[in-house]
Amino acid sequence: MPELARNADRTNDFAIKFANVNGTGSASANALIMKAIFRMGIPVAGKNYFPSNIQGLPTWYEVRVTRDGYAARSGRIDILVAMNAETYQRDVREVISGGYLIYDSTWPRSMLLQREDITVIGVPLAKMVNETFDGVRNRILLKNIAYAGVIAALIDVDLNVIDALLKESYAKKPKLLDSNTKALRLGYDYAKANLSCPLPLKVTHLDKTAGHIMIDGNTAAGLGCVYAGATVGAWYPITPSTSLMDAFKSFCERFRVDAETGERNYAVIQAEDELSAIGMVLGASWNGARAFTPTSGPGISLMNEFIGLAYYAEVPAVIFDVARVGPSTGMPTRTQQSDILMCAYASHGDTRHVVLFPANPEECFYMAVQAFDLAERLQTPVFVLSDLDIGMNDWMCKDLKWDDAYRPDRGKVLSAEELNKLDKFYRYVDRDEDAIPYRTLPGVNPKGAYFTRGSGHNQYGGYTEDSADYQFVLDRLTRKFTTATRYVPKPVTLGRGNCEVGIISLGSCDGAVREALDVLSRQKIDVDYLRVKAFPFTSEVEAFLRDHKLIFVVEQNRDAQLRSLLTIETAVEKSKLESILSYSGFPMSADPIVNGIRAKLAETPRLSVIK
């Protein structure tokens, strides 16, 4: 890998992977290391690879220390902390040549750990912890903190920063603060006394994280729903979306409960299934509340019938799909972008939906708010399609900001007075020629009463089986989808703009693509980049497709779903689109993009891409 040579100085630029057994409390130790590095001003990216299981199965946590601020998985492991004997064999294989492996040498070092080209470091963790602490559970938990201490010494994490973090975590539990600090020192002091610290892979203070937070997308989206003024949330638990509703609920408990009366300004309903969850969202939205449901692929599959009703009867709804690996139950705790087409065309009949594609937690927050505005403005379901990587991993993001002048766009809702002035109200008449009709809310004025139905209806809202009347409404819905392009977020572009080669991508691929662009640029390969933020595609997408001769479509699914959507919905020639796909279930790294582009360009010498 040519990039490695460039990085002779590995200070603040390496990846540590922790191999653990799930249910042993390792998460807090791993988070402690990551947070401490972040507080030292060094950008970090955390990726959690966990099993669909509660206790006893292998789980990994990867911390990328990245002075360049890359968001993607690094794709190589420099330091492996092997705390799970069961996975030694595969863990040891993953360490890059010249890397380090740390293991618990309480038990004799297994032949499994043999490798000539890496440094294997044994630390008698269990032995030290057992001699110092009592209680089985306690020892298991503190062993994690002890290895965090070892790592802190090896990579030179500032102990003051760790101490401050522990103090914050255990502010109200002095006993725990005491034992955790002790365990941390146990590992730290051992390493200092017995190992050559620090390693060449080390951290030093930077100033690149000021004005940033570490947050996961589901928390950010849940917070966005609170800020957007959502009052009804309905859901059925499913990984990896569950923490979105957990977040909404806890923020509501903080911000939406009347201090005096204890009364709640919200309702969260745990439905009996996703069919019911989306039904509740439609009922609440129809009634004028901002309502949403978070789910994942299997939930969207179940919701399809109702989504079609919402599309046709023009009922707003906000649906978060935090995508996981399909088909079927697939790998519920792994990430993928394989719900793109399902969301874009959910339900039977001719349907098309507005879909937003956040690329990171920060966008989850802002797009949550935008989704409600769009749903009410356009009177239609709006999807926010993120994925497990964005939803459940901690990302470094710019501080979230809120414009206090923001007021929700409630769309075309007629008030009692406006209705009084009307001769007669008709639900589906296009009065403004933007294909968006006016709606009314129940309980406001009997003049506004209409009948919401999924059966054939004319523009007056009446039942119809007349072809012309039916088509008139259906054609307006097509025009309404065109109107949507005026409101959805425009794509993000990067690059000179006049390269012959381009990349189109979406969502959580963004980090990997940006890193790949840097690598390619250092190899004197210039490529433009466009990231779509929404479906329907806006004119910028069409122009980018037109203006580039070869376009790599980078996405995380097997079937090239974004590429399909582009060929269906734009004028692009199919042959111009070259797919780069990743569907392993792990977040994408830059390597397959760099390699894919180099390989293709080698076959296509006539393209002038070299600077």
Binding site: V232, A267, G283, A289, P442, G443, G448, A449, S455
Partner: protein
């Protein structure tokens, strides 16, 4: 074609309610159901009931699933919003709507197919959640709209029009509701307006989930010999156990009933239902006794009708449990909902 409106010329001599509205003003679009369909009689009873309790038309929200029965929300109270959703899923629409605005009166109309087959789960969970609504099942033992297949409420031995005999046991919505803890459970017959109207009125006023199972014969697919949901069969096996009278809050209670034979239950808004027991042993406030009684009667092919169970003391209504603010959620001002930038900046300390 249900959007054809009936002429709304009010006759000057038509009686008006406290809002000055005539019965005609509680009607809806013209029914497109078969002539003689039981469902149309239920519609008529709903019109009468809403007029009688002076319900503001826009205060009502009408919800339904799919089926002949579910179409009927279009045929009453034209001044109310209606939502004809998808097959078997009206309870979730109602639950969401009721969550968003606790001030409206919700009426859900469903069929035995809509409620006891495809929508069984949603019905059960709406009962469990104790959504404040009146839920009417127009129960004809068949799927009317898809031309006469047996529904899950068809009795064993029922003969379909084409001669097929049903062998699987029925699901009884009344027993279901009792077992799930519904606080208002009634059964009636579409042809018995006298019994049905006060039941609907009381059900609309009840604070919590009120279920009325209305036997409503399908003249086209289930009104022949061998059917247990025909007009003749229903009339013969009709067993009114308890008669209900509804007394609005404002009226003076002068209903003639004899001590010991009658029970008056005050609803949460102060209005009353007066229950006249025809069966001296029957106590509608005792859920398990009610369950046992109905179960025994069903075995004898008797449909017990009237207000089978009521519990006005229950505190499990959805909003009560949720501690929702009194102001409907859909009317809360944005300032009360969005915490603002200062709060956001403070909150973010935890992610640094």
């Amino acid at each position: 074609m249900s959007y054809i409106n009936k002429p709304k010329v009010a006759h000057p001599s038509l009686p008006t309610n406290a809002l000055g509205l005539t019965r005609r003003q509680y009607e809806g679009a013209m029914s497109t159901l078969c002539a003689g369909c039981g469902h149309d009689s239920v519609t008529a009873a709903i019109v009468e009931a809403c007029w009688g309790i002076d319900l503001k038309p826009e205060q009502l929200a009408k919800l339904s699933g799919i089926g002949c029965s579910s179409k009927t929300t279009a045929y009453f109270v034209a001044g109310a919003h209606g939502f004809n959703s998808v097959h078997g899923r009206m309870p979730s629409i109602a639950s969401g709507a009721a969550a968003a605005n606790r001030e409206l009166t919700y009426i859900g109309i469903s069929g035995d197919g809509d409620s006891l087959s495809i929508g069984f789960g949603q019905l059960a969970h709406a009962i469990r959640r104790n959504i404040n609504m009146l839920y009417i099942i127009e129960n004809n033992g068949v799927y009317g709209l898809t031309k006469g297949q047996f529904s899950a409420s068809a009795d064993i031995g029922t003969k379909a029009k084409k001669g097929e005999v049903n062998l699987t046991p029925p699901i009884d919505p009344v027993l279901l509701a009792l077992s799930l803890g519904a606080t208002f459970v009634a059964r009636s017959f579409s042809g018995d307006k006298q019994q049905l109207v006060p039941l609907i009125q009381a059900g609309l006023k009840h604070n919590g989930f009120a279920l009325i199972d209305v036997l409503s014969p399908c003249v086209t697919f289930n009104d022949h010999e061998g059917s247990t949901r025909s007009y003749t069969f229903t009339r013969e096996h009709y067993h009114p156990v308890i008669e209900a009278d509804f007394v609005p809050k404002a009226s003076e209670i002068t209903v003639d009933y004899q001590e010991g034979q009658a029970l008056s239950v005050e609803l949460h808004d102060g209005s009353q239902v007066i229950l006249r027991k025809l069966d001296a042993s029957y106590d509608p406030t005792d859920r398990s006794a009610a369950y046992h009684f109905i179960e025994t009667k069903i075995k004898n092919h008797e449909y017990v009708t009237g207000l089978i169970h009521i519990d006005e003391s229950s505190t499990t209504e959805f909003h009560t449990l949720n501690k929702t603010t009194k102001v409907p959620l859909n009317r809360l001002p944005f300032e009360k909902l969005s915490p603002g930038n200062a709060a956001l900046q403070k909150l973010q300390a935890r992610w640094r």
